[in-house]
Symmetry: C2
């Protein structure tokens, strides 16, 4: 939610000069690309040139790889030496002549394949540049200057941010944003100092203020206690923590070749996309019994986010953000800080997005990759029942994490894709950063006599209730494309036939979903295991090969179905959906999300109720947080965590780590491993 | 579930000679004890002497600290120099003259305070020694020898285990166990080789077989592929993992003084109990604003486990184990293996339980304590909107973990109590080890034409469906004893008054539980936050001081209320219960659990529907796993994880880690922290 008015990577996003890119790129020929590689800066520049040759005045809102047909990728993959590699194509969303264009550019032929004007509801992702321009407008806008003066504030300490406006039932709409202004004066944490009561509307096409309302004056919360920088704390306390480090004396165990990561028994491809962030492709796990890599996931990525606030006041009601489609979850990524955002043993990867004018912009350290060694146990057993010594066999758990942090204005989302040697893919979403808070007249809860839609966090600071939903597109290919979706229902059964002294037990009733409508599920109330199986492949003893979705904490949407934001984010209606693979169905909230009407999204696609049994299917899982802010979230939030796991379930014939050598561990002399004793000896 | 026939710690549990204990113990005077310290070996020996002076033939089933009155502990704690320390007392459950005794011994006066014969339903925890004796009986029992011969098995490769029998409605019962035998021949993993079809009943008082039925011959599953020891694998594979180590060059940051652990802003007391394992007491967190430690939890521990199997066959239906009360979750703990069970920076603590004859028995390394540094982020934000450089402020997360592993026969439970600097207490339960499996005639799923209550995992190996419920007794004292239990219900509200273009939102409706019946909750279907608050204390802006329970994956029981095992384990009827503090209400399944009838447990105590508002209350949370075994669980299970968090929620006035210095991190020269680049440069 919210948005950046300026590119947060400005300090290290200087576009590389074109000629330099070209000269370096010539070293790597096109056909060396993996077909799922993201566009290189050179390719982005090619796209820029080609699209600019079509339209003189054009702004680039999205530039990314035009995903090749899955069949073509898989065909190439089956024999990369002999089979044709799909042509590199770019997909562009641009604005020209006040229209939204969907443009496909073939990078091999350097031709425009399609150029389609989009005439449906909704607008493209906002660019940083237009937001930066919009947020400058107030500083010379006379009515606002009067408002600032009326409040006794210093203009050069005012900072404004831009916010998408949602949709509330009107038929016609312009491409507009709202602005919200903050007071910096004495803190970097201006988000805690809203200048409340003012509504701005800015027409982005004409880049001018078309609406202004100064409704009410509310005290600006004080700066004191809001700055989170170590350097500016008046007093700091020492928690007496001695240094702690992850040490890999022989370096990391993974390799990165092009965009392909190999580690332990895993292999996958990772790409950066300016809309979704990390895209994991072709995740496959080595099965030593079969002596081959077996595919688990063709493609997995954050498809959309939904962050509706529950505050109905005039300046807040519209805040029902779809962060990926409106602001770009990928382009909002920030450079990861070594030793802080990722541990000592991390390696960092860069990514590129496209600026409004089509120029490639680099995000340094957009991903980190590290081996996670948290002291957990992969498997163990102690056997003391047999004669002779106690047998203890333990395997410590080491996994591989790919991390990105997307800072969508005030909130920081930490997204981890974690690969475990046992075959589990674990996705964790951490929420930290700054709350969006409302300026309030109240300094104590006892003063509040009406519904205020949030928690009073500090004097004059109210933290409105809100949700965060993150929807994942998980194109699982469990040992191949032909998969089914199975609900394994754990059902209580009564014993009525006297076959046992028991009166009840539970059994498992498997239901294979035939159509999309069978796979729309809200989890939580019943005991149902969610499986994606390959009904054409069996374990040695005949079980369907499968993977199981294990959600962590389930949160379901609370908005009403007929409410506008809920229609737009109808993918949150269920926690789980399954669709047949369709190359165009990537974005759960639709392709053009800003001011969308909800007529093109996961919920509407699914109305066709297509067959999904023994098909190439896509699993959509939406994890959620209902956030009731508390004082500990002020002025900066400790990380809130949720996630899910994809766990092999009758995928292997036996524990896949049974026959692997344990991790070699070397006790370091400076660590104490001696026992200390609680009791007098 | 299941039980050890022999003490798994025999290799290092040699009782310390009495005189040696005495001479060493004289160095530490009695009054130096914290009132919640577990009994020392010297005290255990005192108890042994005193109880043996009462009864010539006595067996000790439980010996532990008789928990002093809470008021007395808190009074002492408020001024340890001046106030009276409560007398040290031991609580003993013993069998003498075929009766169960509850004996309280005062260790200061060396007197028996009470000796009560228990005449209700149920029996004490089993001892290792009586189980070892029982499991020897088959080896000379003629009908069994015939059964073994009929099956063509070698007697000296047969191993039997003992299992509690539950209760199925009969009025009178003897103190009995059932036996289940396994075939070792060629594997250490005899649990995968059940000798199926035979039922034994052993009278423990007379120590003889009183029932035997060889119902059916089923093939014994083969040994091949079942052994999990690295040393005996025919071929092992290399996952090419380079070594990875946690390094603390200056040593750990925590101290252990007596049984009191201090680390960062946390302080707590830890004791080992032979029934529950680790008991965390007086967990308090330092508030730099108040310059004092504020109490969060008076006492927290595993109260009971419930592991019912869903297999109705004659040899399996009764398996509905209550692991803590029947087998001793604490005495089943195993010595933790340095570098494997706990990372390099761990320190280890010992614990003592009491053998059947009253002699103290040591479990070396029963706990480990380590600082966990998993690469997670405690809080962060990147601010790029303001002129000047990008500001990135990140605090890596380091926490403190206390770990115990309890190996209740085949299953290994990993219990972590984790303390976070932000104030969260996170409890994680990991399940690994070996499934209890049933021998089966089937070698392929296609052969199965009837209900088999489980998954075919390998040839002739069936993994019956089962549950694991772990109930935690959480005597929270949120900033003092007077607490309330609040359900914060997130409720959809419709907008009907035109105050907003929105049609819906959600609001928070707080319900403070007045009585126990208001606090019985099954989570999952609704959106409810669970809080324990201190209504007498407020944050600066007037919010009730509180902590929130955040469950991970919720699992609710599926057995019917009128079923016998469910009556006994009625604490699983709800995920959450709240009771007023009562010194005697510690064990959710009752004190005498073996063959209990369910007439003395959390559910029956709660029928009194006592007042719980503004009282000293205890929160009970039961986490659960429904386990549908899969082939990856064979022959040894990768860890399944669940847990919960207790998170400060308006406990502090602001983020408690705002003003603490970040962890000092030193990049080590051998670690690479340089970027690698995905794209050609």
């Amino acid at each position: 939610m919210g948005t950046k008015a300026m590119d947060p990577r400005k300090s290290n996003s200087t576009p590389t000069p074109f000629f330099l890119l070209f000269s370096l790129f010539s070293l790597a020929a096109c056909h060396e690309h993996h077909p799922l590689d993201p566009l290189t800066p050179f390719e982005q520049t090619q796209v820029q040139t080609i699209v600019k040759s079509l339209y003189q005045n054009v702004t680039f809102h999205y530039v990314g790889l035009d995903e090749p047909d899955k069949a073509a990728v898989l065909s190439w993959l089956s024999s990369p030496q002999t089979n044709q590699i799909p042509d590199r194509q770019a997909f562009v969303i641009a604005r020209a002549d006040s229209q939204s264009h969907e443009i496909v550019v073939n990078l091999a032929t350097k031709e425009v394949v399609t150029d389609k004007v989009y005439d449906g509801y909704g607008y493209p992702m906002l660019t940083f540049e237009e937001q930066a321009a919009a947020t400058q407008l107030p500083l010379t806008y006379a009515p606002f200057l009067a408002s600032i003066e009326k409040r006794g504030l210093i203009l050069d300490q005012v900072f404004c941010g831009s916010f998408t406006v949602g949709w509330y039932g009107s038929e016609a709409s312009k491409r507009v944003v709202r602005l919200m202004c903050y007071y910096i004066n004495g803190t970097i944490n201006f988000y805690m100092r809203p200048i409340e009561g003012i509504t701005f509307t800015v027409d982005l096409e004409e880049m001018k203020i078309i609406g202004y309302h100064d409704r009410v004056v509310v005290p600006v919360p004080k700066a004191d206690g809001t700055d989170y920088r170590e350097a500016v704390q008046k007093s700091t306390f020492d928690n007496h923590l001695k240094s702690i480090t992850i040490l890999q004396p022989d370096g990391p165990s993974f390799t990165v070749e092009g965009h392909t990561v190999r580690w332990a028994n895993w292999e996958f491809h990772v790409a950066f996309d300016m809309r979704s962030g990390p895209i994991i492709s072709l995740a496959s796990i080595y099965d030593h019994k079969e002596d081959e890599y077996r595919r688990v996931m063709y493609r997995g990525f954050v498809s959309e986010l939904f962050v509706p606030y529950m505050d109905l006041t005039e300046e807040w009601y519209y805040r029902t953000f779809l962060d990926a489609g409106e602001f770009g979850f990928g382009q909002s990524a920030v450079p990861l800080q070594p030793l802080r955002d990722c541990p000592e043993n991390a390696m960092f990867l860069d990514g590129y997005f496209t600026a409004q004018d089509g120029t490639p912009a680099k995000i340094s350290n957009v991903f980190c990759l590290f081996e996670r060694y948290a002291g957990d146990i992969m498997w163990r057993h102690t056997e003391g029942a047999l004669p002779g010594d106690l047998v203890t066999e333990v395997r410590p758990d080491v996994s591989l994490v790919l991390r990105m942090v997307s800072t969508v204005a005030n909130y920081d989302y930490v997204i981890d894709w974690e690969f475990k040697q046992t075959g589990t893919i674990k996705v964790t979403a951490g929420l930290t950063g700054l709350l969006a808070v409302r300026g309030s007249i109240y300094t104590h809860k006892d003063q509040i006599m009406q519904e205020e839609y949030g928690t009073l966090l500090a004097e004059n600071v109210l933290g409105p209730y809100h949700d965060h939903f993150i929807s994942f597109h998980l194109d699982l290919d469990i040992d191949g494309e032909t998969n089914s979706f199975v609900k394994a229902k754990l059902q209580r059964a009564r014993v009525t036939d006297g076959r046992s002294p028991r009166k009840s037990y539970w059994r498992v009733v498997n239901e294979t979903a035939k159509r999309e409508s069978d796979a729309k599920i809200n989890l939580g109330s019943g005991a149902t295991e969610i499986l994606v199986t390959n009904p054409n492949k069996k374990t040695k003893v005949g079980n369907d090969i499968g993977y199981r979705l294990i959600p962590r904490t389930v949160a379901s949407r609370l908005l009403a179905n007929d409410d506008y934001p809920q229609k737009r984010a109808a993918f949150t209606k269920y926690n789980v959906w399954v669709t047949p693979y369709n190359r165009s169905e990537k974005w759960a909230g639709g392709l053009f999300v800003d001011q969308s009407h909800g007529d093109d999204n996961l919920a509407t696609w699914s109305l066709r109720d297509r067959e999904i049994e023994k098909k190439d299917i896509v699993l959509w899982y939406t994890l959620g947080f209902h956030h009731v802010p508390c004082s500990e979230d002020f002025p900066i939030m400790p990380t809130l965590t949720n996630g899910f796991e994809l766990k092999p379930t009758n995928f292997f014939d036996y524990n896949p780590m049974l026959k692997f050598k344990p991790l070699k561990q070397v006790p370091t002399p400076s660590n104490s491993t001696s026992s200390i004793h609680l009791l007098p000896q």
